[in-house]
């Protein structure tokens, strides 16, 4: 299945907790069910995004890593 990503957010080079804050801001502009792709380089994001998704009810759909870049795909909760 190919995911249709509505919004992309580049948080590369940003330190914790900026990726979370930027994602929370961007999430406001999405409609329920839409997907956002977030790129980050801060390793702390690995744990933070899992916890954030759990706490906010938004779903962490995909999580990959390559060339030192962490990629998260989140779905806005309904």
């Amino acid at each position: 299945m190919t995911l249709t990503i509505t919004t992309q957010l580049d948080c590369k080079g940003l330190a914790c907790p900026m990726p979370i804050v930027k994602t929370a801001q961007a999430m406001k502009t999405l409609r329920p069910g839409e997907l956002i792709e977030v790129l980050a380089t801060d390793r702390g994001a690995l744990r933070d995004f899992v916890a954030w998704a759990k706490a906010t009810g938004n779903r962490l759909v995909e999580q990959t890593e390559g060339d030192g870049v962490l990629r998260f795909v989140l779905e806005k909760k309904g």
Partner: protein
């Protein structure tokens, strides 16, 4: 003719950099500091003023008295910088030409960015700290919330310090029993730095301080006395204290030298502007992913001073910034811990003790005769 070095900003970083460049180069350089007020503010003191532990008079000094006599002080606002012409235009007219420019322009508070901010308090300016002090003196019980309304902000440990110290303050005033103190944290822990968070959490638990996680403040409803997060949560308050959103200086933004937030794109080691080799940036003004604190500016200033001295003398600059920062963190009860770290090494804070509390106290007292003159490394 001596080389012209212009320093914008008379805070910790600007003052120290100007003094060090002047000391190192003597007659080889003419150093000029431009500062809008001519008054130096010791910002770490705001926290103590708000909590009625310090007198506001202690926090300000005439900038002139902190600068070497060979350093010129221009009390005026820098309006724009022309990086191609190497000049700075001043608000009252006139321009200052430079060979090297140090941007120590700090950060500005952007309270208007939060709807409903007027109903809140903060300790991020002297006026704010004095207003909060009055509100706390009148406070006779209820819910105190402390939230973060924008990142990055100055002094990352300050929200944690504030709730710990406020809880103690309420106990001393005898109103703790009918009060609650809660930190609204942008993350899933009390503090960005994990090791410090682990140290602080048991203290929160022991003293009954609340922690609400993933709460990035978006707006305040003064009538309903509620604060709402970007995540969609709402919390009720009786006294709301916010860390206001911060942005870079107007002169940086108006001159096209900053990013969208007004922070200066800065090389993490050389501290030069990434697009202009004769422009350096230190302290809050940079876009570096490290603490916005006086300590950061304090450790960066000697690097910039040394590199500028090398350029002026035509030698290869060697000094490089490794991301060194050192902060104290008050935990209340006359105890504190310390956070020392750099780009490569996260901090390992010691257990809170009286030693670090006194170290912070002595540092605060001795600040005026030590830091601006470069007497502590």
């Amino acid at each position: 003719m001596p080389a012209r070095v212009v320093v914008l900003g008379g805070g910790v970083g600007g003052t120290l950099a100007a003094n060090l460049i002047s000391k190192e180069l003597g007659a080889e350089a003419k150093v000029t500091v431009v500062d809008a007020t001519g008054m130096h503010l010791y910002q770490p003191g705001f926290l103590y003023v708000a909590l009625d532990q310090a007198n506001a008079r202690w926090l300000t000094r005439d900038e002139r008295t902190l600068l070497r006599k060979q350093v010129d002080l221009v009390v005026d606002e820098a309006k724009t910088i022309d990086a191609a012409a190497q000049t700075v235009a001043l608000a009252r007219g006139g321009t200052l030409p430079y060979d090297y420019l140090v941007l120590a322009t700090g950060s500005r508070l952007d309270r208007d960015a939060v709807p409903g901010y007027a109903d809140t308090h903060d300790f991020y300016s002297l006026d704010g700290a004095l207003r909060l002090r009055e509100a706390l003196r009148r406070f006779d019980g209820g819910r105190i919330l402390l939230g973060v309304a924008g990142i990055p902000y100055k002094c990352p440990p300050a929200p944690v310090e504030f709730v710990l110290m406020a809880e103690e303050y309420l106990r001393k005033r005898g109103v703790r029993k009918n009060s609650s103190v809660t930190l609204l944290s942008p993350l899933n822990r009390a503090f960005t730095i994990e090791s410090a968070s682990k140290l602080v959490q048991p203290i929160f638990d022991r003293r009954g301080i609340g922690l609400t996680t993933f709460f990035n403040v978006e707006s305040v409803d003064a009538r309903a006395r509620t604060v709402t997060s970007l995540e969609g949560e709402t919390a009720e308050y009786d006294l709301l204290i916010l860390v206001p959103p911060h942005k870079g200086a107007a002169v940086v933004m108006d001159s096209g030298l900053g990013d969208a937030g007004g922070w200066i794109p800065t090389d993490r080691n050389t501290l030069t502007h990434t697009a202009h080799e004769r422009i350096f940036a230190i302290g809050d003004a940079t876009d570096l992913p490290i603490s916005k604190s006086g300590s950061t500016a304090h450790f960066e200033a000697p690097i910039v001073a040394s590199r500028i001295a090398s350029f002026i003398r035509g030698t290869a600059p060697k000094a490089a910034y490794g991301g060194r920062v050192m902060c104290f963190l008050e935990t209340g009860g006359g105890r504190a811990t310390s956070l020392r770290f750099d780009y490569a090494h996260p901090p390992i804070p010691p257990q809170p003790s009286r030693l670090w509390h006194w170290a912070k106290w002595i540092f605060n007292r001795a600040y005026w005769v030590t830091v601006p003159q470069g007497r502590v490394g």
